[in-house]
């Protein structure tokens, strides 16, 4: 699935939920499906700043693609992280840097997310794109 397709799928999933309770229940459920970061990577370095809750993020580069694992100490955060990873994990650095993330707005969460929460989410997206940029630069270097 492309990044766009994954996003559209998430948006479709959310369309069936009428009230916010169901949405949150779904988000929390998604958190349980998050590919959990290996404890050796749960380091200060991998901690994302800008969240009231803690988020650890680890990137792995395999066969030209980036794979992410993560964890959070808060359940809703974990669900949001899970969605972002579901969308972006397993793509090339180039695809990730060029991607446009629109599903957060589209599932109607933006109004509901507190600004600290969306700031946290934004810093995570930024971090993921930074990883991607770094690997993109590396692979360009090795090609030339």
């Amino acid at each position: 699935m492309t990044i766009q397709e994954s996003q559209d799928e998430i948006i479709g999933d959310f369309e069936v939920f009428g009230d916010w309770m169901d949405k949150y229940e779904h988000i929390i459920q998604l958190g349980k499906e998050l590919p959990i970061i290996d404890s050796q990577y749960k380091t200060e370095d991998n901690l994302i700043k800008g969240c009231q809750s803690k988020v650890w993020l680890h990137a792995e580069y395999r066969d030209g693609k980036l794979y992410f694992t993560a964890d959070s100490d808060a359940a809703i955060t974990k669900g949001l992280v899970s969605m972002v990873i579901q969308v972006l994990s397993g793509h090339t650095p180039e695809q990730i840097t060029n991607s446009e993330i629109y599903f957060i707005d589209a599932i109607g969460l933006r109004n509901h997310l507190s600004s600290t929460r969306s700031n946290g989410l934004l810093s995570m997206l930024k971090q993921i794109k930074l990883y991607a940029l770094a690997y993109q630069a590396k692979s360009l270097q090795s090609k030339s």
Binding site: M21, A74, I76, T77, L113, S114, R117
Partner: protein, 451 residues
């Protein structure tokens, strides 16, 4: 009846100010508050529903639910009396103060100085000029840290704070200590969220130049034994700064009875406007301190060779002050005086007891700090099971319930308890038992989702 009395008073005071500012200051202002005290001071049961009508914002709907505002320790909502007073100020007497010969400037000056008198009366300061207008608690503490530090702090000295301070009563002292090569010492706290005072004398004897602590903790709600600590410090001739940011709106604060040397609080936590606050200082201390900032207002004469400074309070009020803020704060204080702090305290204690009762029925509810309603004010800091406070806060928000989550600018306390933060519900006079029920129901819903 009570409702109209308040708004009537507010308008009356304003009207009074407009026609005769001098009267307002000495006569009307005083007698209003005096009346408030004698007539309402003792044992009057407050009608909370009537009080709520003074606060337009309390009618707000959030995501389709009526707002339950329980973030009062962060900032309180403002009654119409305050909004009207500030509006009237700009509409009728706005002018720069203390410098104009013209009519409006006189009127504005009188109104602002009347507010100073109101505040002085409110905290029972001996003199109105011991009341300095600042931007808030933070600036008041920074002012003392900078000015006291500059004058009295030397290498090897120390400043003593408590283990339950807001960052604004830690960082300014750290900054001046670093500059002067002094050290910051800390009164420890116990599991119950109380100060451990056993070692206080020994600490005071070891080169402490000033003690600074909060009257009521914003993170735990603990009421500290201020009078006792002040008396102990005074036995060694050490002055004390009391951070009353979370006390001033919940209980009577009498600077002479406390015998406190410096006291700081913010208007916006006392139903008043943002951007203004108070530093009280004993005349003998304030006179010994150098000015804080330089500029207009704070000088007597200026030549390029030498400037002489103005007298109290203006020495510490450089530049054009926040006139509308001063007037708004004055109106807020009068509003509180009308209700009577003893009555407010009584109502809030009852509500606190009720809230703790209903919350304790929730499985996994864990109060952080002292569980005795009589020993706490304003704040209920808690966790439920293993639920992250941030998650809890968000699910409460979805139900129109405003609480704060996190470390509440008091990270050392969270470290003390080894927790990432808490959920904090904080009360004001306008909160009701029904809102506590909503809070409890909201928490239960969050537990279903998250537990």
């Amino acid at each position: 009846m009570h409702d109209t009395a308040i708004i009537g008073e507010g308008r009356g005071a304003n009207g009074e100010g407009r026609s005769a500012g001098g009267d307002h200051r000495s006569g009307e202002g005083r007698s209003t508050s005096g009346e408030g005290r004698s007539a309402n001071g003792e044992g009057r049961r407050l009608d909370i529903e009537e009080i709520r009508r003074d606060f337009p914002i309390l009618g707000t709907t959030v995501y389709g639910y009526p707002l339950v505002y329980l973030d009062n320790a962060a900032t309180t909502q403002k009654p119409l009396a305050v909004l009207t007073a500030m509006d009237e100020y700009y509409k009728t007497i706005n002018a720069n103060v203390h410098r104009g010969v013209h009519y409006l400037s006189q009127r504005a000056t009188d109104a602002c100085e009347a507010s100073r008198v109101t505040v002085a009366d409110f905290i029972n300061a001996r003199h109105a000029y011991e009341v300095i207008f600042t931007r808030g608690t933070t600036e008041s503490i920074n002012l003392i840290a900078a000015c006291f530090g500059k004058k009295f702090l030397q290498e090897g000295d120390s400043i003593l704070v408590s283990g339950m301070e807001h960052h604004s009563n830690i960082v300014p002292w750290q900054m001046i200590c670093e500059e002067k090569k002094a050290t910051l010492k800390v009164i420890p706290i116990d599991e119950n969220g109380e100060l451990i005072l056993g070692g206080l004398d020994a600490m005071l004897k070891s080169g402490v130049k000033l003690v600074a602590f909060n009257y009521v903790s914003n993170a735990l709600g603990t009421i500290n034994p201020a009078k006792e600590i002040i008396a102990a410090a005074h036995r060694y001739g050490i002055p004390v700064l009391l951070d009353a940011a979370q006390a001033i709106q919940h209980m009577e604060v009498d600077v002479q009875d406390l015998d406190v040397d410096f006291l700081a609080f913010s208007s916006h936590k006392l139903y008043g406007p943002t951007g203004i606050g108070i530093l009280y200082g004993k005349e003998e201390w304030l006179n010994q301190l150098p000015p804080y900032q330089g500029g207009g207002e704070m000088i007597k004469t200026v030549t390029f060779e030498k400037t002489t400074y103005n007298d109290l309070p203006f020495k510490f009020e450089a530049g054009t002050p926040d006139m509308a803020g001063m007037i708004g704060l004055g109106a807020a204080v009068r509003y509180v005086q009308e209700l009577g702090l003893a009555n407010i305290q009584h109502a809030e204690n009852e509500l606190m007891t009720y809230a703790l009762d209903v919350l304790r029925e929730i499985k996994g509810f864990r109060l952080i700090g002292n569980g005795d309603a009589e020993h706490r004010a304003g704040v209920i800091s808690f966790l439920v099971g293993n639920i992250h406070p941030f998650d809890m806060g968000e699910i409460l928000d979805q139900q129109g319930i405003a609480v704060r989550t996190g470390h509440h600018c008091a990270q050392p306390i969270m470290d003390r308890y080894c927790i990432p933060g808490t959920v904090r519900a904080s009360l004001a006079v306008y909160n009701t038992p029904a809102e506590m029920d909503r809070l409890a129901a909201g928490i239960r819903k969050a537990v279903t989702l998250l537990g």
